[in-house]
Assembly symmetry: C2
Homo-oligomer: 223 residues x 2
DNA sequence: GTCAAGCAGATTGTCTGACATTCTTGCAAT
DNA sequence: ATTGCAAGAATGTCAGACAATCTGCTTGAC
């Protein structure tokens, strides 16, 4: 038997279920940035007890998806452009590294999977469903991160991207952003498929920079 | 009044107090890797109730300082060398970037602070107090990270370093490691003081690589 | 004697209910 | 209009309870 194959299945506990639900709710923009989350309301909406909810909120707090100020309770943080910039910068660092490594080590099957996810994004890009666009694009990155050979890189990246999900939705709905995003992602894919590390890094960097610029525009316009 | 000067003082809640205490306990190696943390025991030791403890544990779980398996409860994860390697690799990525940026933008006062922390490490290095060595070394990095101009870089780095605190203590007690560490840190400091970004990056990279090598040795020897 | 089945104790997951402390808000008074 | 106060709402924390699950030990079968 393979030594560290993890056979243990994780029972779904109320806490986990709640974290997942709330995270999804935050991603899909159900809560306004800055708005407060009232425990009693969430409890009745989710049908769970306050201790369970509070555990879930602590998890989300540690992920920086919510803030909890003592005696004021949990709220959705309003992401400043300053912090968003910092996140995009670190994301660039990680994604560039991941794309470069991925180009050198991805397996044929995974490459096929990557191609498929690119097609899925292509389809979403021609539609106007910006949620589908964000989801399929996230798939594309996560395959790259999953194949960079460094699980920590993947983990940290996931945490960062989660925090800017707010911008991703908004900037995807910018005129033409989805299409140019598609072109950038295609270039990343081609570089990886060719096993060209340097090109993959370059394309990846370009992509993050443009995503950041798009986010900035959508922020300036939007609010 | 400056717009986002945060005047709010954070009352110390039981939850936060508990997280800090447990984190410190983990850092100082009070719990063996792999050992389980029994809630009822911790409650009576800390003098708090179970709900409060469980909230604290969820925070630590999200920081990856403990693991919580459903129906088995919390435990200290046994860090595999594979994961440790991955952490060191990402740490390298972040620290190199931070050192480079820091060289370009650190203020004179902060530079002085950095110099002082280097002296503190120097003193600790001549002693045999490996805890003091780890603490002062951590100070040194945290000043660099705090002056890189990117709070996210700092935050992510802190999270990663926390997870390898286990190794840091062990490798510092290796024969001669503290002294060579001192030499490496001094080189980083000199580069930053000179405002030489490239040298700072190079020195920083060297330092992480050697720290990683030392950790590997201490792991192979140690257990 | 070894191994499997099963039972008792320990531990966790979750809920209910409670209460002191702190925040918020609306109203009254200056 | 600003200040101060009081009522209501929300949070921080605890105690206790109970079902589900795990763990280790005893017992029984081969």
């Amino acid at each position: 038997m393979p030594p560290d194959l993890n056979l243990r299945i994780s029972p779904r506990t109320v806490q986990r279920e709640t974290v997942d639900k709330l995270r999804l709710a935050i991603f899909s923009g159900l809560f306004q940035p800055g708005s407060r989350l009232v425990e009693s309301q969430l409890c009745s909406q989710l049908g769970i007890s306050r201790p369970s909810l509070r555990e879930a909120l602590r998890s989300l707090e540690a992920e920086r998806l919510i803030e909890i100020v003592p005696n004021r309770g949990p709220s959705i943080p309003a992401l400043s452009w300053e912090v968003a910039t910092a996140i995009y910068e670190v994301r660039e660092l990680l994604e560039v590294e991941a794309a470069g490594r991925c180009a050198l080590r991805i397996s044929p099957e995974q490459l096929l999977k990557l191609e498929k996810s690119l097609s899925a994004f292509e389809e979403a890009a021609s539609s106007n469903d910006s949620l589908a666009q964000v989801m399929t694009a996230a798939d594309f990155y996560s395959i790259i991160l999953a194949n960079c050979g460094n699980p920590i890189l993947e983990e940290v990246h996931r945490g960062l991207v989660a925090r800017i999900s707010f911008f991703r939705g908004r900037s995807m709905s910018l005129e033409g952003r989805a299409q140019s995003s598609l072109a950038e992602m295609r270039e990343i894919f081609e570089s990886i498929a060719a096993g060209d590390e340097k090109a993959a890094r370059k394309a990846s960097k370009q992509h993050v920079l443009k995503a950041k610029a798009a986010a900035k525009i959508s922020m300036d316009n939007g609010i």
